[in-house]
């Protein structure tokens, strides 16, 4: 409750009061009448009256002046108690209970923008000040616990979900063959939940949903939960989001209901994510891990510095290539399995684990099915292990990047020192910014690299507008169109760039790497300068040199370093050169010479 003093603003006599103590007044309601104002007689003889109006809605608390008294302009005539209405629930103020949608008390100041609270139903809305206050409290808590916030995407980032019919096969295999499975695939250290393929039924959908969790997910989450407060923001539906959360976080300790789905906000249907829905005032402590950047962009921004972009995980698409994506071949098979599944579900009363039901269903299959399965199973296993083993380091690398950013943030915080936490200070600001730290980390990846392109960008277009150019420059590289002496890398398109003039001009140089565009993309994914020898366009360069790959890489890099030193050395000596002091000996020598020269002259007899 705030108190507002209302002043007379004119000197005169307060003749009448129109309100009493305790009355609820609305904005611009007439409170009192002033008469006898000095010089306020109208030409036709009427005495001018001035009405005093209430500046806002509120309750009259005190009347300081009795009717008929003389007042001056600065005198306080009454005080008004008013409520900020900072939190509104279903149109009612949560502090004073006032219904803000009816009659005179309808909130006139509609200029006051209201925001909804993160993870609260939309029936709750708060003013911007209150939102800032809530965020400040949150930030303070996180700073005390030395944590940051991490928003995770689900699909293609932490897992891959599908409802394709042949995914049944993979699911069957993950259970029947788990005994003789290659241990590395199943990540035996992770909990049972993070192994293999899981399946559940989404309410309202006829097909079952299969989920393959990304390899290394268990360890990733365990590593992150100590340093970050975890949130989920997915483009899936609300039931999907809840089911997946229960799958990867069965004890509700990781996410605790901090889940946003596409049904929660209207822009979800347009495939848009908005960080401001969760953090309306300040996002300098928030990191995002997502495989797509475009969903986070809105009309105003061109990049999202909080985002750590993950490599998309598309397990079922990879394995699907084994089957050539022929649904018609697999469907009868899967349908039969589906029927068997349903039958066992109805008959079994004790099993709740989906796994057990599937194995029950498997044994009902005929012999012919089994042999067919084993042939295809070979192919599936191969594709499966190949895809997963190629991907298993990615989550680990992401964890490293996030930990590094976290470390840098808190180093900065410690450096700044005590940022005077006052308990109710709403103008509290976070001392460091995760966006700046990430941009800095990105720029360090390809610093000292001078990159030119050949055959990559269309000739008549603007290369600066292309994604590859933007990626490379955000990684800190110097980009140029032509060849220069300081060039370190030439990015060449495998098809169109091998025979261009640029490539020919550079091919013989021993200080330039000729790599494919995949090198830049991979550097962006792992945020470290990848080994160029894995992306060479002309691998014969390494072979012809006779060195091992490592040594050749080192040689080229040191050549580049030499070139850098050469170009950075000053061409003329620096202006402030230190004066060389003359030694005693040299002074004596000079004196002797001088005297010798003078004596020679006196010998001539001209001087004395």
């Amino acid at each position: 409750m705030e108190s507002l003093e209302i002043r007379a603003t004119y000197s005169g006599i307060l003749s009448t009061w129109h309100v009493a103590i305790g009355d609820k007044v609305y904005r611009s309601q007439k409170l009192a009448v002033l008469t006898g104002i000095a010089g306020a007689v109208k030409p036709d003889g009427d005495v001018k009256l001035v009405n005093i109006h209430a500046p806002r809605n509120g309750t009259l608390a005190e009347l300081r002046v009795v009717a008929g008294c003389l007042v001056t302009a600065e005198d306080v005539i009454c005080t008004l108690d008013w409520c900020r209405h900072s939190v509104v629930y279903h149109g009612m103020c949560a502090d004073c209970g006032e219904d803000l949608t009816t009659g005179h008390f309808a909130e006139v100041s509609s200029g006051e923008q209201r925001l909804s609270v993160a993870y609260a139903p939309s029936s709750l809305s708060v003013t911007i000040d209150e939102a800032r206050h809530i965020e400040a409290n949150n930030a303070r808590r996180l700073l005390n616990e030395k944590k940051l916030t991490l928003v995770l995407d689900l699909d293609h980032t932490l897992l891959h979900a599908t409802n394709l019919a042949w995914a049944h096969e993979a699911f069957q295999l993950s259970n029947t063959l788990s005994s003789d499975m290659k241990g590395s695939l199943m990540s035996p250290r992770a909990s049972k939940h993070h192994r293999g393929v899981h399946f559940f039924h989404l309410p309202g959908s006829p097909l079952p949903m299969f989920i393959k969790l990304r390899p290394g997910l268990g360890e990733f989450l365990i590593r992150m939960v100590n340093l970050f407060e975890l949130h989920i923001y997915t483009m899936g539906s609300r039931p999907y989001a809840d089911l997946v959360a229960k799958l990867i976080d069965p004890q509700r300790i990781l996410f605790r209901g901090r889940i946003t789905s596409r049904d929660d906000f209207p822009e979800g249907r347009l495939n848009q994510k908005n960080l401001r829905r969760l953090f309306p005032c300040d996002d300098s402590m928030v990191l995002i891990v997502d495989d797509r950047e475009d969903v986070w962009l809105d009309a105003r921004s061109t990049s999202v510095p909080n985002l750590v972009r993950a490599r998309p995980y598309a397990f079922f698409s990879a394995v699907g290539e084994v089957f050539g994506n022929q649904d018609s071949v697999e469907l009868p098979h899967a349908e039969r399995l589906g029927h068997i599944q349903q039958n066992t579900k109805q008959s079994s009363s004790s099993t709740s684990e989906m796994n057990e039901e599937a194995t029950g269903g498997n044994t009902d299959m005929t012999l012919s099915d089994k042999t067919e399965l084993s042939k295809q199973s070979e192919m599936i296993l191969e594709a499966w292990s190949k895809y997963d083993s190629g991907d298993k380091d990615h989550l680990r690398r992401l964890a490293e990047i996030l930990e590094e950013c976290h470390g840098k943030f808190y180093m900065e915080v410690d450096r700044i020192g005590d940022f005077s936490l006052k308990t109710d200070q709403s103008s509290f600001s976070v001392p460091a910014d995760v966006k700046k730290i990430m941009s800095c980390m990105r720029r360090q990846v390809l610093e000292n690299c001078v990159i030119s392109f050949s055959g990559v960008f269309p000739k008549n277009g603007r290369p600066e507008a292309c994604q590859l150019w933007k990626t490379a420059s955000s990684l800190g590289a110097n980009l140029s169109d032509g060849i220069s002496e300081t060039l370190t890398h030439l990015v060449v398109d495998e098809i169109r760039g091998k025979d261009t003039e640029k490539t020919a001009a550079v091919k013989h140089r021993e200080d330039v790497f000729i790599v494919s565009p995949r090198w830049i993309e991979n550097c962006a994914e792992t945020l470290c300068r990848e080994n160029e020898t894995d992306y060479l366009i002309f691998p014969e360069q390494v072979e012809s040199s006779g060195l091992s790959r490592e040594e050749w890489n080192q040689q080229v890099r040191s050549n580049q370093q030499k070139g850098r030193d050469l170009h950075s050395a000053p061409s003329h000596p620096p202006p402030t050169k230190r004066m060389r002091r003359l030694t005693e000996e040299e002074v004596d020598d000079m004196e002797r010479e001088l005297t010798a020269a003078i004596d020679v002259e006196t010998h001539d007899g001209t001087h004395g």
Binding site: S86, V87, G91, E98, R256
Partner: protein, 172 residues
């Protein structure tokens, strides 16, 4: 608060029910249709106590062929009022306050309306009183006694604002 109110409902009955047990059908249908719904400003109908006898005759609707019976009945309703003190169960705790449910009604208590010595503990997901005085903890599932300071009746239900900041209010 709970009240016994006299209400009226116009029941539409399909001709296939025009049998000797029409009255019983009417009563069963009434209970099915009305129990658990909101009767606007009269309250939330919990149970139909009795149907007023004699049942008035029904009027036939020419278009559909259904009979319309204007039934009068006594029902037990839940009708909260502003200023009332009642017990509720906490459904959710958040930084700006907490949600408590008293039957069909959800009451929001903002953090300003909680005792000044309470603060939100995010890791334990509860509102905890800090200080040497008795350790009060409010979390999901706790029973609290609160006073309603604002109420709104809408088509889909009742919504209220409550307070815990007074004598004898708080965890029960």
């Amino acid at each position: 608060m709970f009240f016994m109110v006299s209400l009226e409902k116009r029941m539409h009955v399909h001709p296939r029910f025009f049998t000797a047990s029409l009255k019983d059908t009417l009563k069963d249908r009434l209970m099915l249709e009305v129990e658990g719904t909101s009767a606007g400003s009269k309250g939330f109908i919990l149970k139909v106590a009795e149907v007023e006898e004699p049942v008035p005759p029904g009027l036939l609707d020419e278009v559909t062929g259904n009979a319309i019976f204007p039934l009068r009945y006594q029902a037990l309703v839940f009708r909260p009022y502003k200023g009332e003190v009642l017990d509720a169960i906490v459904a959710r705790v958040m930084t700006p306050g907490l949600y408590a449910e008293a039957g069909p009604m959800t009451i929001f208590v903002s953090r300003q309306q909680l005792p000044d010595d309470m603060s939100f503990d995010a890791s334990a997901e509860c509102w905890r009183s800090v200080g040497e005085a008795q350790q009060e903890r409010i979390e999901k599932g706790s029973s609290v006694r609160l006073r309603i300071i604002g109420m709104k009746i809408e088509i889909n239900g009742f919504f209220a604002i409550g307070t815990l900041d007074d004598h004898y209010l708080g965890v029960v």
